[in-house]
Symmetry: C2
Subunit: 329 residues, 2 copies
């Protein structure tokens, strides 16, 4: 039985690694009947263990943990010119082995993976395991490896693309085409640009078992979103896909640094580490033009409200939207 069947509302919090993720935000979604998530990315295994403990102090409801699957290191000649003058580029596997071992001990209700597909053996060590996919081909690989569910990420989504192997010119699929093209009896968790109850209803209609929502929670007081990021979210500024901040394709609100580096190379996490000091400093200064303003295409609809209210409105809006759609048919 999937963890999704134990929820009161089929809404999953996106992991939101790198700042916005907090135990308080995850707990608010869990306690509202959705599925909260702890973002494991960028943390040490020890720090992740603390976060999980903190969430367990705040809720007894099911929750998930998201992990980044490490890829290969990049050759320095691919990024050294780009990172000149920035911080030190380095490779790190995000504490992969220790985090997998932690998952076996801590036993969250589900572990989701991003940036690749773990091996069949690694997936088998988890309880329920989901893999994030961005194309029908990735979905087939994840199912073959034994994934229990697929987080289906459309090109509308904010933050990093979950693509297994980033490369220039890779095909981006919108969420609705992906949901149609992926055929499986495993649950699909749809994500990308879902900011209203109507959009939750839309992805459920398209066959998803749940909607995963990230950007719509970024302005909640429980989120750890930086002030400059919150301000940008509340505008109608356009988003774009960029590798400028991290060396991996991600969607954010267009700003100066993004526009100055339209052809940043593929080199993750090397470029992530190289730009980290610049971003930390800009965040402190409140300079939105030099930080990664991760946001989905519908970010202008994100509301400054407690997470529990946002969740309740999404669920109520979804019910209303389905009732309206029935009348049209």
């Amino acid at each position: 039985m999937s963890v999704l069947e134990r929820l009161k509302v089929p809404i999953v919090l996106a992991p939101l690694a790198g700042g916005p993720s907090t135990p308080e935000l995850a707990a608010a979604v869990c306690n509202g009947g959705g599925l909260g998530f702890v973002a494991g990315g960028y943390l040490t295994a020890a720090a992740l263990e603390e976060r999980i403990g903190a969430l367990r102090e705040l809720t007894r409801r099911p929750f998930g943990v998201n992990l980044f699957v490490p890829g290969p290191a990049s050759a320095p000649e691919t990024y050294s010119e780009y990172t000149r003058g920035l911080g030190e580029p380095r490779f790190h596997d995000d504490d992969w082995d220790a985090k997998l071992a932690l998952m076996e001990r801590a036993k969250p209700d589900v572990v989701s993976f991003t940036f690749g597909c773990p091996s069949r053996e690694e997936l088998a060590r988890m309880g329920e395991a989901w893999v994030t996919v961005t194309s029908p081909g990735e979905a087939a690989l994840a199912l073959a490896a034994g994934a229990d569910g697929l987080v289906v990420q459309g090109s509308e989504a904010g933050g990093h693309r979950g693509v297994f192997a980033d490369a220039p010119g890779i095909t981006q699929y919108g969420l609705l085409p992906l949901l149609q093209l992926i055929e499986t009896s495993k649950p699909l968790i749809a994500t990308g640009g879902i900011a209203t109850g109507a959009a939750v209803a839309a992805v459920l209609s398209a066959g998803a078992a749940a909607a995963q929502v990230g950007t719509a929670f970024l302005r909640a007081p429980e989120a750890g979103t930086a002030a400059a990021h919150r301000e940008a979210l509340a505008t109608t500024r356009e988003t774009g896909l960029t590798r400028a901040f991290t060396g991996r394709l991600a969607r954010g609100i267009r700003n100066r640094f993004m526009d100055e580096h339209p052809d940043a190379p593929v080199a993750y996490p090397e470029i992530h580490f190289a730009t980290a000091p610049m971003r930390a400093e800009a965040r402190q200064r409140g300079d939105a033009e030099a930080i990664n303003l991760w946001a989905g295409e519908a970010h202008a609809l994100a509301q400054e409200k407690p997470a529990a209210e946002i969740l309740a409105e999404l669920a109520a809006g979804a019910r209303e939207a389905l009732a309206r759609a029935e009348k049209r048919l």
Copy 2:
């Protein structure tokens, strides 16, 4: 009262200018209770008048006509290098004045516009008038000009982007974000990557009054789709956005000509005319690598079936999908 309220099923045939559009295809959709469309683009006003007459011989149900809004001519220096060795580039306004006059005489149930927003005066000369939009900003302009409905085209859609002013680097919005971001009491007709009844249900749930479907009808026997195009549609080949064939951004199945010209300039219809002889010859030879294989992201789901069957399956599938979604909430 919008023409949509006179339909038995809230499904609209995409215009499909440039070959696939036929009176037989439009009639099949009309007679099945949807809204058929006659594509006015690329035809003389006289030829369009004949097509409308042919459709009226085949159905008494409501139908629409789609027109291309002419843009400015491009400066030869922007495209002359690109079109060297191809056919003659030229500008043409697609017989705009004559077609507007024809619309006043022929009075289709709705006229939809693509590639721009007509003036308030031009829209007022029509009965019901829809404008195709690809962003919240375009939607605001179209509503201010008096559009009676908006065809909301997501980035998933096959064929030309309806964007008012094409330019390198323009932001593309997915269909679900667009439907959420556009606020109006006028009907939204959602289009882009809708190939199944579940996707029809999804856009209705997201607030659309109807789903506009194009690619899913391209393999119907009533469509005028070229043989090589039909074959490509039946594969899982990926799509991409390109200006290589026409000088205007459009989505098609990736092929050699597209991949050889990733940076084709913005110059429509000049490049359209310049590549026309090459494409006509390739179509005759059955060479799919040098023709514009327009297709939405979900093209692999297009079925080789009579249009009436495709329409009926979309409608039935949409009802089932809504019923399933209700159970999830």
